[in-house]
């Protein structure tokens, strides 16, 4: 089957079986590095993407379901952020990504696609989340290296920067 999908603002035509999860199309047909395989069961958050700005698990989302909707992967996050903030130009990275570098958060880094997608979703919805709100919002994203405290710290740092409280 042929599908028209919009990925990071660009219309793409992909050919796939109707039941093919979106993840395999993004990885193999579109060669994207953001969404990645973790469990295939929507349990870990490795494959997260934003669908109309809402985080979904691409490993269980049939490709047919995303037609006519705005799909954003990690690659398109800076542009989405620029759009949300009315910036003329997309930054090189979403503020949360810069914060991850500044607090030296990732270890193996594999779960950071999901951490970034989910964290950016939170900051778009609640610009100044409390610690409790961050814990609740991020709870569906696992990290095996044990970097949760630094994800927390980075979300708080990015939040402050977006609010213009600090640089």
């Amino acid at each position: 089957m042929e599908y028209q999908i919009t990925v990071n603002g660009t219309a793409r035509t992909v050919i796939a079986n109707p039941d093919t999860p979106l993840l395999y199309v993004l990885m193999n047909e579109l060669s994207l590095k953001g969404p990645r395989f973790g469990c295939g069961l929507a349990q870990c958050g490795s494959c997260s993407v934003l669908l109309d700005g809402v985080e979904v698990r691409s490993c269980i989302t049939p490709v047919a379901d995303v037609q006519g909707r705005a799909l954003t992967t990690l690659e398109g996050l800076p542009a989405l952020y620029a759009q949300q903030k009315g910036l003329a130009q997309a930054p090189a990275m979403h503020p949360l990504q810069q914060a991850f570098i500044d607090v030296q958060a990732p270890q193996c880094g594999y779960c950071y696609n999901g951490m970034t997608i989910k964290g950016s979703e939170l900051l778009a919805k609640i610009p100044k989340p409390t610690e409790a709100e961050i814990r609740t919002h991020m709870d569906g994203h696992l990290c095996r290296c044990g970097t949760y405290p630094r994800v927390m710290k980075a979300i708080q740092l990015a939040s402050s920067r977006i609010a213009g409280e600090i640089r």
């Binding site: 796939a16 079986n17 039941d19 093919t20 999860p21 395999y24 990885m27 193999n28 060669s31 590095k33 953001g34 990645r36 395989f37 973790g38 469990c39 295939g40 069961l41 349990q43 870990c44 490795s46 990690l74 690659e75 090189a92 990275m93 990504q97 810069q98 991850f100 570098i101 030296q104 958060a105 990732p106 270890q107 193996c108 880094g109 594999y110 779960c111 950071y112 696609n113 970034t116 814990r135 609740t136 991020m138 709870d139 569906g140 994203h141 696992l142 990290c143 095996r144 290296c145 044990g146 970097t147 949760y148 405290p149 630094r150 994800v151 927390m152």
Partner: protein
Amino acid sequence: MSAHQTALGFSRRDLLKGGGALIVGFSMAGVPAGGALAARGDVAGPFDMSAIDTWIAIHADNTATVYLGKGEFGQGNTTGLLQIAAEELDLDMSQVRSVQLDTNVVPNQGATVSSASIERGGPQIRAAAAEARRALLNLASTRLAMQVGSLVVNNGIVSIDGHQAQSVSYGALLGDKPFNVKFTGTAPQKAITRYKVVGTNVPRVDIPEKAAGTYTHMQHLRMPGMLHGRVVRPRGQRAYGVGAKPLAIDESSIKDIPARIVRKGDFVGVVAENEWDAIRASRALKVTWQETSALPGNADLFTRMRAAKTSDVTIVDWGDAEKAFAKAAHVSTATYYCPYQSHAPFGPNCAIGDVGPNGALVISSTQDIYGSRDMLAEVLSLPVNKVRVQYVEGSGTFGRSCYEDCAQAAAVMSQAVGKPVRVQFMRSDEHGWDDYGPAHLADVRAGIDANGKIVAYQYNGWQHGWLINETTHELVLNTPPKERTTGAMSIPVNRMSTGSMYQIADRRVVSHMVPMVGLLKGAPLRSPLDLSFAFASEQTIDELAVAAKMDPLEFRRKNIGDARWLGVLNAAAQAAAWTPKISGSALGNGDVVTGRGIGLGTHHVSYGAAVADIEVNKRTGVIVAKRLFGALDCGQIVNPAAVEAQIMGQMIQATSRTLKEEVLFDKEGVTSLDWMSYPVLRFGEHPEVVTVVVQRLDEPSSGAGEEVMGATTAAIANAFYDATGVRLRQFPLTPDRVKAALATRT
């Protein structure tokens, strides 16, 4: 075969021009063109360890490539090792880089294990860099007509001391030409007092790409013309030694899917051009497996272990523990039960095999490229020097997860179909066919005199060992079970984790090695069994403190003789603002009670201490780790920030393993196959972590990736007693176990 052809007959150029950014090429970055070094990559290692050219190359642009043999697994060792090289070479961090690990490129520094990259790999890199610097200074001496003693180096520019204008760069001296210098190990090394890079918080070199999402993990790699493969096995491993014997395979069950079955011996897999087709086929393929019910199941595991015919090794036998017990004022005795736990990398392992008649290229996330090559050669029936193994970082592995199994599966399927094959383990493959951290059973007995001095200590531990053939190896070759029950490769009881931190004249530690056959596959899991040893040993120490009516910190201080153990203990206690109290002496009322515990632990070297603040909900049985304080003394710390990150990661992972992780299995096989049946610590549950590094620049560096885990487990267990007045003798400390233990008290 021309210089530009690989062993497989395709050119590097073909690979590199493959189109997408993810296409595999041989990593050419840092491999200089021209001269004798052009051969690097075309010749199978291992390389001459006594040649400086094996370790370091200086380029015309005044940068250096350091051929590290230790892999980056997210622990930051690449940054640390490059810091050591930059320091000795007097280069800036921007002037040094490493290359992809490759058996045709890098020296065999041994496997990246035991948190030993800096401890054992560091001195090699330091000595090699010092030797390279000496050779470069000798060249500069000739070029500048000035004795070496009058030369200074800054960022790779050699100048005459006091005459900056008279200078020459490393690049101009050697640019991409070989050193042709022997690695004697005698070159003078920089005095610690002159360190500028070592001991500083250099940002990790791998983090920017990991945060940006441009980093290439193993799971991202693709190869032109490759197929996607999946292994087909029973869901969840059976008893070790039983294997997985397919009695019948119904090929018609996948007739509607464009996929092909690969069978070799008992190995079954499927390959397809499309990844989803490979997954569908692996699920749809009907295989009748030989039935088995040889496992004890979780319920009878420890009975089976205790009844096993063991190989016993006395690890420590100081004084006369039996006689000392007779004189003790108080003796604490208990049995502890510790679970099988899974490596469970967040992203299951992935590998690509490209096996042709002329040789094999296998790319995986192995911790040991040279060891992996040996095993692959056996599985493929190829000479070792025809197998080339490259390492690409995957998802954090924490010891021997399924990377070898996955690499072998990819290679076997590629050999069968004559095309490159990428195998991605599914979640249930990785969880179900892991070589688990072995279960452990411990009888601990320790006694104090009337003054609160530990006078006798006895630890009897039961567990099975490791060093098995990987599952693919066994299935393909029908090799009999292989395991180590004695010696260094067998995970005996660790003397360092069982009372070594205290001055005890009469101490006996015995390791009872249980045969692995009939149980689950075992392998080292981060800080192998140290969590179990600390859970048993440090709770016993805490019980003695209670018996002595002493604060647990004070009791430990009284019984420690070593200044470094005392140092980390005090560092953790100070960070936590410890206030003296007899443990369990002030029990709270209400459903939710709080407790604080302290513990010590290590792996082989280094000194770890932890304090834990926890909450226990007596009604639900849920334990919440609220705040952890961890201190580590690992000698000279090359990058304190990287070590702090390691302490944090260890403490979070140890919390997960202490509170939640247990491999479940019935008589047939493993039933922990995903994150629901094998829960780990979630974001919402994570404790705040305060880390303390004890810098000792004048001591040799020792491991920093595993040594605070045991202490963390011990501190949490001891905090539970402090909160409830009840001891938990089995972990993970699940709500059911908590409620059952509390029920026995009321």
